[in-house]
Structures are given as C-alpha cells and as structure tokens.
C-alpha cells in the first residue's frame, strides 16, 4: 500500500512572477458519463458532467434524489470510476488507477463525511479517527497525537474514549468530520452531512465545516437543503445527470459567507 501514486498530469508549470489568478483545480471532471447496466437496461446516471473545483473552495451540489448527485459523489470520492470521460483529483487521472491505488488516493486525498455517520461500531471515537492513519501506515504515538488534535478541533476532546453508540448523532457526525480531516486531505467530501441531524446539531456541524474551510480546506457538500447550501461559496444544481445551474456566491479565497454567524441555541465547541 506504499506504492507511489502516479505523478501529476503534465500541466502548465506555475509561473513565479505571475499572480495566482487561476489556482490549480483540486478536482476536475471532464465530460464524465456514468452508465449502470448494459444493453436495454442501461441507465445513464451522469450524462456528461464537466466541473472544476479549485483549492479553498466550498461547493454545494444540490439536486433531488435520482438527479445523479450520489453518482457524482461516488466518482469524486474515488469510490467508483467514470464509464466515459476523465476525473482528476489533485491532477491525478483516476482512470489509470487500480483498486489498490484508488484506496491510497481515498486515504491521502479525500476525507468522507456520510449522512449515516458510518463510524465503525465497538471502536472508540479515538480509534475511529485513528483508522485512516493506520491504513496510511503511521505509527501508534503519531497516530494518536494527530487523532487527538482532530477531535479537539471538532470539539470532542472530552469524548475521545466513548464508543459511537454512546454519542449523540451530532457528536458522531463530528467524530466523522475529525476522521475525514485527520489525514489532511485535499478535499473533504460531505454527502448530506446534516441529513440525520436535528436543527441544532446541523448548525453546529455546519459551523465546524465553515471553520475548516476558513482554515483552508476544500469542501464539496452534497445536499438538498437550501439553508445548508447557503453556507457554500458556490452552489451547483444537478438534474437528470447534468449540471443545470452553477452560481458563484463568493470568491474561493474569501471567508465562507455564514462563518461565525450567531445561530440561536448553537453551542460553540
């Protein structure tokens, strides 16, 4: 699992004396088509999606169920590969990678936050957060130090040794966020992260994501809730496997629009 990743695809070398007008995209989808099934039963979930997401951006992908946004999330998360077109993460073309290399990309480049939290039962919060570092081959002490720092960042320093079933939904989701960012990934990918949370826990979680973005993390958020999408700097609408709307709210380099907004009843970690 320590096989080296392929080198970045050849792109224009960064010119030192030019202002960084166009930062290198963290993810780039080029005419991505995803087809499930074959022949008569074939279903096109994505029908040619082209999208660049740059560093420090905070993108919300919105769409109804069946719009293809989950398929898009699977491809962006390297959980699935496109049928046609290309997907590049940090300049790495994923179509040339085997399952082993994809696992390494998921480990190093992507942090997942799922709607269902997806913590591993019977493992403490700390052990759950340490898990990606274990797969990255880090040693015990270093692993523990980084996992503790990540849990501190999401405000769960006091519940490190609790098991998932002893934590509230909001706390579990914050453990999941800690697990997503512990490897310092290029991209945090959140799939309906507030889908199973109540209003107050949702606000707390979005607050954590806002602050992560303000600290420089690139975030892609998949949601169908408008008030969750309101936290993003760019909102993309997906329908029938195509991008139908792309609204820029604020520049990628700016602070997230709702950062630090007081929300009634929210608890600052």
């Amino acid at each position: 699992m320590t096989r080296p990743l392929p080198r970045r695809a050849a792109g224009p070398p960064p010119e030192a004396d030019q202002p960084p007008a166009q930062p290198e995209p963290v993810i780039r989808l080029m005419s991505v088509v995803k087809t499930y099934g074959t022949g008569e039963a074939a279903v096109q979930a994505l029908r040619g999606v082209t999208l660049d997401v740059v560093e420090r951006d905070y993108v919300a992908v919105m769409g109804a169920s069946g719009s293809g946004k989950s398929t898009m999330m699977n491809i962006i998360g390297c959980l699935d590969v496109p049928s046609e077109g290309q997907f590049l993460i940090d300049g790495i073309d994923t179509s040339s990678l085997d399952e082993q290399q994809l696992a390494v990309v998921r480990n190093r480049k992507i942090g997942f936050v799922f709607q269902a939290f997806n913590l591993i039962p019977r493992m403490t919060a700390l052990a759950n957060v340490e898990l990606p570092l274990s797969y990255a081959g880090l040693r015990g002490a270093e692993r523990r130090r980084r996992a503790e720092a990540a849990l501190y960042l999401v405000g769960l320093a006091g519940r490190m040794h609790a098991q998932p079933q002893q934590l509230s939904g909001g706390q579990q989701q914050r453990v999941a966020v800690a697990r997503a960012l512990v490897t310092a990934p290029s991209l945090v990918l959140a799939d309906e992260p507030t889908g199973n949370l109540d209003t107050r826990a949702s606000h707390d979680l979005m607050d954590v994501l806002d602050r992560l973005n303000a600290a420089g993390r690139t975030i892609v958020l998949i949601t169908h809730e408008a008030d969750v999408a309101a936290h993003a700097k760019r909102v993309i609408g997906v329908q029938d496997g195509r991008i139908v709307a792309d609204r820029r709210v604020i520049e990628p380099g700016a602070l997230p629009p709702l950062l630090g907004q007081p929300v009634y009843g929210s608890v600052r970690p």
């Binding site: 699992m1 699977n74 998360g77 959980l79 699935d80 399952e99 082993q100 696992a103 390494v104 998921r106 480990n107 190093r108 997942f112 799922f114 997806n118 913590l119 591993i120 039962p121 019977r122 493992m123 898990l131 990606p132 274990s134 797969y135 990255a136 081959g137 697990r179 490897t183």
Partner: protein, 402 residues
C-alpha cells in the same frame, strides 16, 4: 499497515461476536482433539498387541493347523490330502536339533461353572511345557504334571480372570468346577497377563491334552503345536527344521501345506500391519471431523463478511486497500482455527490420559504439531474464499448495503 495492527483488527472482529467465534472454534477443537486422541488410541492398541506378542517370548514357535492349500497348483501336482496335526508330529519335532520343548495343544471355547456362577472361557488342552513356552506363570497352586497328562486326570489351571469370575476372592485351588458339564479339579491359577489388544489373555483355562480330547474335542487334529527353541539365535533354523519335518511327514509341498509356522516376530509384523491399518482408519475418521470444522469456518466467515459489508465499505472509503481487508479476514479465520487447534491439542492430550474401551492411548508425538499445523492451514484455506469476497467488494456498493 503493520501486522500487529492487522492482528488487533482481527481480534476486535472476533470479540464482536464471541458466541459465534466460540462455536466455530469448537468445530476445530473437536477435529484436532479427535485426530490426536484417535491416533493415540490406535497407537495404544497396537502397542498393547505388540507387548502381548513379545511376552510370548522370542524363542517360541507356533505351528498352526490349517485346512490345506487349495491353490491352482494342487490340481496339476500330486495332490496330498490335508492331514491332521497330531501328537506324533509333536514327537517327531521334539527330535529336531535346537528344540527345547514341544507342547501339542487343542483349544475350544467352554462354559466354566461353579455353583451359581458361570463364565465363558477358552480352554487349552496341552502338556505342562506349554506354560513356560507361553510365558505363563502360576499365581497360586501348581501346574499339572506330565504324569497327569498321560493318565488323563480331570485337573485344570484357571486364568486369573476366569478364576475371579467364578470364585471372586476365594481361593479356587482344590475346588471342583464344571467345564461344559464335566467336573475338573482346580490345581492352580495363572498370574495376570493383562489385555492383549481387545481380548483378555486371562479369561482362560488350561487342562491336560488327553483329558480335553477325551471329554471335549475328540481325537481329531491338534490346533497348534508350541515349540520352544533352545535360544533366540536358533529360532530361524528350528523353523526351517519344523517345516521340512512336517512337509516330509505330511507329504506336502509348500503350495498346499496344511500347516503354518509362526514365531513371535512374524506374528508381530502381522499384528503391526493390522494395527497400523486400524490407526490410519481412526485418523481418517478424525480428519473428516477436522474438515467439517473447516467448512464451519467458511460458513461463519461468509456470514460475518455479509454482516459487515457496510463496515468493509467504510474501511475501504477511508483508505483500506483490498490487501489489508483480505489480511484482516484471513487473520480472523486463521485465529479461529488456531485457537481451536490449540484447545484441541489440549483436549486431545487430556483425553489420552484416560483408558478408552480397554485401550490405554499412547500419544503419537508427531500427531500434535501435524494436527495443529493442519488446523492453521485450514483457517487459511477455508477463510480464503470469504476473505477474498470481502476484499473484492466495490466500496460504493458496500457502503449502500443495509
């Protein structure tokens, strides 16, 4: 990821379902335990047979009466009627060099009774020289004499088990027992010889040849003649002598001989090969139970993998490679089988401390590492299929699994 980490994940996986892990382990435990125990039983019975045969003494040669050859040669060569083995044959053998004693014998199964108690035993009619040739010693009383044989006295020497069955703790010497209805006076009791294989060597009675022929068997053929050589060194020579004397007396060729000459070492090799077959058979039965235990591992690991599909999806999403997932589930399966194997070794060793159906098991040292090693391999082999299935899961599908 370090092997220690893989091991920790595997242990956590097993601990998550303790009852299921314990039951799966039990299958391997029984398999490994029964391999060790049954091989030990086979080995133990073969050793007790060998001990019984070698207690016959290396100098003893037994001439057995057989029904005569019926091979294809008998129709083309001069055919000789099978003849009886007689006391005259015995006397002829006694003249041969290197022969210390000759004891013609007949044997039959009889019912011994004394008062209300009765017992079925094997009765041998012979001469007093039979006792030293068979390595029998007297525990009480005395043997009968050659004089008593010549005058066909109704006297009998009982084996220790026959004596205790009839008389309990009382001294049988001087008492009268009925041997299939004929009254005999007990003159002596043999010392205990112990079991030989699955039959007791002590449930016997020995009486003068003439008396037994007179009262019970009639004057047909002898069953055997026990010849005692003067030393172990001349046994082979004496065997040759016996064969040529009897061939001459019975006008036989080797192809249709009506007798068979055996000594302790030929008996030993026959018995060893029988015992070996027995041990292999027992081992094979035990190996089948080990195989069943292995299939149990496959079964339970398949259930575990299905049940933990979502967890596998999560692990893959956060960066577990197929190799790591494979290693985790293979380690779980191998741990199950090795824990079962270790407990099975323990159970097998404890089991061999008990006497089983009259056999004192003797552990074959090689069977322990072999059974344990096979159990570890079984984990790898039977865990391979479920582990492969886990490793090959597509993360997107696994995550969607409810």
């Amino acid at each position: 990821m370090s092997p220690a980490q893989v091991l920790r994940f595997a242990l956590a996986g097993l601990a998550a379902n303790k009852l299921r892990s314990a039951l799966t382990t039990l299958g391997i435990l029984i398999g490994v335990g029964s391999v060790i125990l049954l091989v030990a039983v086979g080995n133990g019975s073969s050793q007790s047979v060998q001990n019984a045969i070698s207690s016959l003494g290396a100098n003893a040669i037994t001439v057995l009466h057989t029904e005569g050859g019926s091979g294809p040669t008998s129709s083309t060569t001069a055919f000789a009627e099978p003849q009886n083995l007689t006391t005259a044959d015995g006397q002829a053998l006694a003249q041969a060099p290197g022969v210390a004693s000759v004891s013609p014998a007949v044997s039959t199964s009889v019912t011994l009774s004394y008062g209300a108690s009765s017992d079925t035993a094997s009765l041998t009619g012979t001469y007093p020289s039979y006792f030293p040739a068979e390595d029998d010693t007297l525990g009480a009383g005395s043997s009968f004499t050659t004089q008593e044989v010549n005058t066909a006295q109704d006297v009998v020497v009982l084996g220790s088990e026959a004596a205790s069955d009839l008389f309990g703790t009382a001294n049988p010497v001087g008492k009268s027992v009925l041997v299939t209805g004929v009254p005999f006076t007990v003159v002596g009791v043999l010392a205990t010889k112990g079991a030989s294989g699955l039959t007791s060597a002590d449930n016997t009675a020995v009486a003068p040849l003439t008396t037994v022929q007179d009262a019970l068997t009639g004057f047909g053929t002898l069953n055997d003649i026990v010849v005692l050589a003067t030393s172990a060194a001349v046994v082979d020579t004496v065997e040759g002598e016996i064969t040529s004397i009897l061939d001459r007396r019975h006008h036989e060729t080797a192809a249709d001989a009506d007798f068979e000459v055996l000594n302790a070492s030929t008996l030993l090799s026959t018995a060893s090969s029988t015992a070996h077959t027995f041990t292999v058979l027992l081992g094979a039965v035990a190996a089948i139970s080990l195989l069943v235990g292995g299939i149990g591992i496959t079964n339970i690991m398949l259930v575990t993998v299905t049940e933990r599909t979502r967890e596998i999806g999560i692990r893959k999403a956060i960066g577990a490679t197929p190799g790591v997932i494979l290693a985790q589930f293979l380690t779980e399966a191998t741990l199950l089988s090795m824990i079962g194997g270790a407990l099975g070794v323990l159970a097998g060793i404890i089991g061999t401390r008990f006497t089983i159906v009259g056999v004192k098991p003797v552990t074959v040292p090689l069977s322990i590492p072999l059974a344990f090693g096979v159990s570890a391999l079984i984990g790898l082999f039977f865990g391979g299929f479920p582990a492969n299935r886990a490793a090959g899961m597509r993360p997107a599908d696994a995550l969607r699994y409810e």
